[in-house]
């Protein structure tokens, strides 16, 4: 079980709990605004972009090469950017705070 907190572009804070699957799927199932997950989680659409809180980067890890390639063309991306379809929900990410990019 992991608690994941999303901060939307309207500064709304929503905390969800999940046990498996991707963070994107959890967000979409719970209607988090700004996370669409159009491609279902295969890293082709970049509609699940989040900024991980700097102190949580150790828990989520940084973006993979393919993610970075997707993100490098997004003007809004920085070193804390992740596509959350590529973050699996495990106990290891309990407590992370993610700021929705869109």
């Amino acid at each position: 079980m992991a608690k994941i907190t999303f901060i939307t572009s309207d500064e709304e804070t929503i905390t969800l709990e999940g046990t498996s699957g991707s963070v994107m799927a959890l967000a979409v199932d719970n209607g988090i605004p700004g996370i669409d997950g159009d491609c279902g989680g295969v890293c082709s659409c970049a509609t699940c972009h989040v900024h991980v809180a700097p102190e949580d980067m150790e828990k989520t890890g940084s973006a993979s090469e393919i993610e970075t390639d997707m993100l490098e063309l997004d003007d809004n991306a920085d070193e804390y950017s992740r596509l959350c379809c590529q973050i699996d929900i495990t106990d290891a990410i309990d407590g992370v705070v993610l700021k929705v990019a869109k």
């Binding site: 669409d36 159009d38 279902g40 295969v42 890293c43 082709s44 659409c45 390639d69 997707m70 063309l73």
Partner: protein, 387 residues
């Protein structure tokens, strides 16, 4: 070769020099073939613009048959973003459960229909009908409108043996003009009425702007959806183990849809007009010439995709550009993805096997490249699943 095999005609040229060249009505095109170049150039709207003469970024060019600017497709940022934000919520409606229920009912009905037949021509009797009926949901217009659209045939611009058909385009434009007039006099909850009531920078959208969005909606999702649907069925017909896998592992359906979009790449390429002298793959691209972003080639780039010429149903990382990339990525993608997902689910649920009798391939002539993009016709039988 299997009928559902779609060879990659770009491989050698993509690997050796990275670009191809084709002529198109005396307005030649430099085709970008590599995944990285295609994505970078799609993102760089300042050097590679969409807001050129209407019809010029389409290949084959529609400059001679169209004056209406398609919106937001033929507009560059930042104005593009304003139009896009205006129409995007409408095009995200396919994510709503009630939209998906209606679509599922339409698709179940059409599959039930063809299960009764001894022989079905899938392009006309299945894919065209499915696409036209589903479009009534996207437009929120009466179901009966689909009969008119079905009567237009598979491509609203192209007819047999002729790349561009002005008369056929006029059928569409006249129809849209009439619909806009109707909605202007008697607004309903349909897409025409919603657009006419939309605000753009403090004023209502003009009828010409509404027409631009509607032409894009009709044209962009016509042969692309028809090819995706037909090709997917041809693939499942020749890969019964894949149909079986969708039954046993329905959770991979979404990934299979993405993989089919990558492999089939229903839209081969999209053009841009170069605004300043530049280089692509060390090849000079002069201002006011055209380049194309060749999605179909990028989607087979072995630098990005392992086993690029195979359908890997559960491909986990799949950064394909089948719906384009960056600012102008496909507005209708949400609708198209739902069609494909529900189609695969419905076929897995109802169809036991398929038999292909005969087919006529649709080969695009891209000058130095010949690319199979789908079928002109494919006759098949759908056998019901017996439990």
């Amino acid at each position: 070769m299997k009928k559902s095999e779609f060879p990659d005609p770009f491989e050698n040229t993509r690997e050796s020099k990275g670009y191809g060249e084709m002529d198109d009505q005396d307005d030649p095109v430099t085709m970008l073939l590599r995944h990285k170049d295609v994505r970078k150039s799609a993102h760089n709207y300042k050097t590679f613009q969409s807001g050129a003469t209407p019809g010029r970024i389409v290949i084959p060019s529609e400059v001679n048959i169209r004056e209406t600017r398609q919106i937001p497709f033929e507009v560059d940022p930042p104005v593009h973003g304003i139009y896009r934000a205006l129409v995007e919520p409408w095009f995200k409606r396919p994510l709503q459960p009630e939209y998906q229920e209606k679509l599922a009912e339409q698709i179940a009905n059409i599959v039930d229909e063809v299960l009764q037949e001894d022989s079905v021509e899938v392009v006309t009797d299945f894919a065209l009908k499915l696409q036209s009926r589903a479009l009534t949901l996207l437009l929120n217009t009466p179901f009966s409108e689909s009969e008119t659209w079905i009567s237009w045939g598979t491509h609203v611009f192209r007819s047999e043996g002729e790349a561009l058909d002005g008369d056929k385009a006029n059928i569409l434009y006249n129809y849209i003009d009439a619909e806009i007039e109707r909605a202007s006099k008697n607004p309903t909850g349909d897409m025409y009425s919603i657009l006419l009531d939309s605000e753009f920078e403090g004023r209502k959208l003009t009828k010409e702007e509404v027409k631009g969005v509607m032409v894009l909606t009709f044209a962009g999702g016509r042969d692309t959806v028809i090819n995706a649907v037909t090709n997917a069925i041809a693939y499942l017909a020749e890969h019964p183990e894949s149909l079986e896998r969708l039954r046993k592992e329905p959770e991979i359906t979404g990934k299979t849809v993405e993989e089919m979009i990558r492999y089939f790449s229903p839209l081969t390429q999209m053009g841009r007009v170069v605004t300043e002298d530049t280089f692509v793959c060390e090849h000079a691209a002069k201002a006011d010439t055209r380049v194309s972003l060749c999605w179909a080639s990028a989607n087979r780039d072995a630098k990005v995709f392992e086993n690029p010429n195979e359908i890997v149903m559960d491909r986990k990382i799949n950064p394909h550009v089948g719906f384009g990339f960056s600012h102008h990525n496909c507005l209708g993608a949400t609708h198209a993805r739902q069609i494909m997902k529900i189609l695969l689910q419905t076929l897995a649920e109802k169809v036991g096997s398929f038999e292909i009798f005969d087919c006529k391939e649709n080969i695009e002539d891209l000058h130095h490249f010949k690319r199979k993009v789908g079928f002109h016709s494919i006759n098949m039988k759908f056998n019901p699943l017996t439990k």
